[in-house]
Symmetry: C2
Subunit: 239 residues, 2 copies
């Protein structure tokens, strides 16, 4: 059976198989070696993610050990960071609870699959101007439902939890803001990703997986590559 | 467990999770409902596909019935149609054997999974001018390894087998040639697909799946959509 990597997260994960999406690009990168399995849930925060963990990853889904994935990305926080007094308040999770929920999610994965790598990804930065143009819920007070400052606090909390738990992380909030024009280069609506933004997530995830030994060079291709097939005796490769 | 659709084929399947790829777009289309699982093998013909069928779909991989996919696309023929006297002759499979191999592949799926839909896809048309510019093996005689006429014969054979077996099919060879400039609009190197070519495969596959009842309206979303969550009592949705 081909090994798996799960992508667990919110809309930025759910949309990751769209055009130039980071999830699809990861599946393409690992074609012939690893199945990249999409488990994205638009709008979800860590509180709801914890509630549904057992349903997303049912204990009896696989035949035991063979079902253990190589890794899972855990990419929540963009919704937790909605401000509690603005128009998407119902998605808000307080910062301390967010940290505790992330710890619980990491534990849940580690308990289920002790050998699987858990990779935390922080929320991206927020472009508040664009959020007002593309709100999920109309803002009655003319203020955006998310701010970049709040997203930054959740990103920092995510990094703290990753370090505490000893798991790798991608600090997307910091990484994206290293580049000029990140607001429009990487974000399509102040929150979700452009093709270039998707590219950054893909590259950072590949780097972190590789740091933990999860890279193409270490995986075996399941069947002969065309380049390994002898043109004079093709069937030999399939004996 | 979320239901699955397998994509089994050659490089046009293996590359289907690349940029704007038809496989990734299908996975995106079915996000929250179906896992689209990539089983593409560049360069493979139906003879080799038959040889590896049991390894690609191991009988003991799943826990019995729950493992049965909703559908599998079977998309071979572009390599079988390489001409027997040209530079990619080692991939060639005679037309009669191609038909027999396709029948055997359909049977193998139906024997393994009696309720799964098998969807045959014909090879695409070939732009011979482009094939000379982008050969896999250098052509010593200045002739392309594939011709559009040969691809058409294999496409016709694929349709005949589909009708014989009573399974749906996508006639890509015919469909693409309905449009002007198909050579460059849909093919990037005379054989593989451009984003627009990928779009056609995606659309045709979605139409054929829908004809067999495999469409979003008939699938249940695994967990509450954000639009179904009551902002005044979000946790109610997760009870």
């Amino acid at each position: 059976m081909r090994p798996k990597i799960y992508l667990f997260g919110d809309s930025i994960t759910e949309e990751s198989f769209g055009d130039s999406g980071w999830g699809a690009t990861l599946a393409h990168h690992f074609s012939r070696t690893v199945d990249v399995v999409l488990r994205g849930y638009s709008g979800y925060n860590t509180r709801w993610a914890l509630k549904v963990f057992e349903r997303v990853f049912p204990p009896d889904a696989g035949a035991g050990e063979g079902d253990e994935p190589l890794a899972a990305t855990v990419f929540f926080g963009a919704n937790d960071a909605c401000l509690p007094d603005r128009c998407s308040a119902f998605q808000h999770v307080p910062l301390d609870e967010y940290k505790q929920n992330l710890r619980s999610l990491v534990s849940a994965f580690q308990k289920r699959w002790p050998n699987a790598l858990v990779l935390l990804i922080t929320p991206p930065p927020i472009d508040e101007v664009a959020r007002l143009k593309f709100p999920y819920v109309e803002s009655p007070d003319g203020l955006p439902e998310r701010t970049n400052k709040a997203a930054g606090a959740y990103a920092e909390a995510c990094v703290i939890v990753a370090k505490e738990c000893g798991v790798p992380y991608v600090n997307l909030w910091t990484k994206m803001q290293e580049f000029p024009n990140w607001e429009t280069a990487y974000l399509s609506d102040g929150l979700h990703l452009t093709p270039a933004g998707n590219r950054i997530v893909f590259e950072e995830v590949v780097i972190k997986l590789k740091d933990s030994g999860l890279c193409l060079e270490n995986f075996s291709v399941d069947l002969p590559l065309i380049s390994e097939i002898d043109p004079n005796d093709p069937l030999k490769a399939f004996e």
